[in-house]
Subunit: 323 residues, 2 copies
């Protein structure tokens, strides 16, 4: 009977493999292109076959795996942390950008430029251990809710992209996040939300130091300030530093991802570039060339000529939000 | 018959698992301590059980996984590259440290201090793509030979440590290198020598940039200069940045590894700190407190009090060099 059970399990396997790996994607050219690529690189008989160790897939996070409107969620988190700290000690509001953030005045924050944003990050993200920071971020993501959808921010992920991540991993790809967002912020939820462990997250990095605390315990501290910006030309650099190998699959949604896709798809052999185009004002948000967040110009103009696949969210996705 | 074969295979498994996982280690307290730790953290019935995702083991490279005398091999590589370049264009020898390196004058190089070393690294490691650099380093490691042993440098690895890496991976640990050496230099041989892929190497990092080359091809270039020193207090910082989780096992050989072991073993739950003490002047080299390379003082003085295990190379290892 035991042998029979094993045999029945073996016979059932092909049926499982033939099930639709991307059920939330409509049957469009986009879906066909993704599946044709994965089939080619995983078929040992194909001339496009790629060994498992080289099946590296990189994904931008904001606007690619989850939403990014009306503002990067990490920014909203920073404002909330700042407000909490200022309620306890108003004397920390030492500049116009900090006061604007405390009042939720986005325009006032943006008027302070990059220096103002770094000030806000220093106050909200600094002087804390990475572990405590991740616990604080995870709690915020589970409890704070998005102004339009009412969902907790941690559930503002895209169901079709979750399926794509799982599909690639089932086909022995390794999936990485490569984000302009902060590496510790993303690590607070990447394992639960995406099945991506901390060591497969590449992101913007803050200054971090090691010292013995007052009790002599070895302690790592986030000191504030930014030591590496993982955006635009920083993305290929961050990938090479963390992964050390050029991916064969890259997905993004804004011109901040252009260099990552360009470098990925310029490699020899089969490559796949994917751009999520936000075309769905009903279920999500519609924005591209003129957006203050996630601006997409070069991807639309140059991407198709480079063979990249443009996801039309409204047409290609049956559902948007994680189930 | 097929079912019988499967059954026979299953029955054979416990016998394989019971084979000595560390055959090049003598039966000493050191070997017993390693095996007792691994047994405890991998036994689901043990109160010290650790889930697979947390079984992170970090290893220093120079002096821990391979030799480091008479000088870090990457330094010898840098001198050779510099000599090659200077033979083609002597005008690159613009300073005393560069001229000293070109003449193989180690004392002259050290007289130039850290600035001189960075100059030598800039000339020997800069202005090249990471891929080309790795190919050059791999060729050097396969062909240049060690002055005392006559072995190619790439084969100056320690057989007992190779067995330890394999043993830990067999027990579902993930093994990382965390080295003061250059990340790209180590990646040139870590997969072949240690079975450690590029994304599990943490090391000192140089400045790297991304740009389109003259033909419009996306290109990453090593620019020279040092952006992150993965030594001493830098090691815990590098681990947190790359891995994002505190290891449960750390191995080193010098005081450059002290903070990595201290932080690792200060964590809650079962932890293991291992120091390779170079006591074997016959088969390898004997050095510790007064060495110009791999100086070990604090590890010997404070390590035992912290519960770390000190490997006595002469007594604990049956063989030294990779077979």
């Amino acid at each position: 009977m035991r042998a029979m059970t094993v045999a029945a399990g073996l016979i059932a396997l092909p049926a499982i493999a033939a099930a639709d790996p991307l059920p939330s994607w409509n049957s469009t050219e986009t879906k066909d292109a993704i599946i044709a690529f994965v089939d080619a690189v995983t078929d040992p008989a194909s001339e496009d076959y790629v060994p498992e160790a080289d099946r590296i897939a990189v994904f931008d996070n904001d606007g690619t795996l989850w939403a990014e409107q009306p503002l990067y969620f990490q920014g909203l988190f920073a404002f909330d942390v700042l407000r909490e700290k200022a309620a306890e000690d108003p004397s920390i509001l030492t500049s116009d950008p900090l006061r604007a953030a405390n009042e939720g005045d986005l325009e006032g924050v943006l008027a302070g430029g990059m220096d103002g944003l770094v000030e806000i990050l220093d106050v909200s993200h600094g002087n804390i251990t990475p572990e405590d920071f991740k616990a604080r971020a995870a709690e915020w993501l589970a409890t704070a809710t998005h102004p339009q959808t009412g969902r907790p921010f941690g559930e503002m992920t895209y169901q079709p992209m979750l399926e794509l991540l799982s599909y690639l991993r089932d086909e022995e790809f390794t999936t990485y996040i490569v984000s302009g967002g902060g590496i510790d912020f993303i690590r607070a939820f990447s394992e639960d939300a995406y099945g991506i462990p901390p060591w497969q997250v590449v992101g913007t990095e803050g200054n971090t130091s090691y010292a013995l605390d007052a009790g002599g315990t070895p302690t790592i501290t986030k000191d504030g300030g930014v030591s590496f910006v993982d955006d635009k030309a920083g993305k290929p650099v961050g990938i090479m530093r963390h992964i050390g190998r050029r991916p064969i699959f890259a997905a993004g949604n804004s011109d901040g991802d252009f260099e990552m896709l360009d470098w990925t798809t310029a490699g020899e052999g089969p490559r796949f570039g994917l751009i999520v185009h936000h075309t769905d004002s009903g279920r999500e948000f519609a924005y591209d060339r003129d957006s203050h967040i996630g601006q997409l110009v070069r991807g639309l103009d140059e991407g198709p000529g480079k063979g990249w696949t443009i996801v039309d969210m409204a047409a290609d996705w049956k559902t948007v939000w994680a189930e």
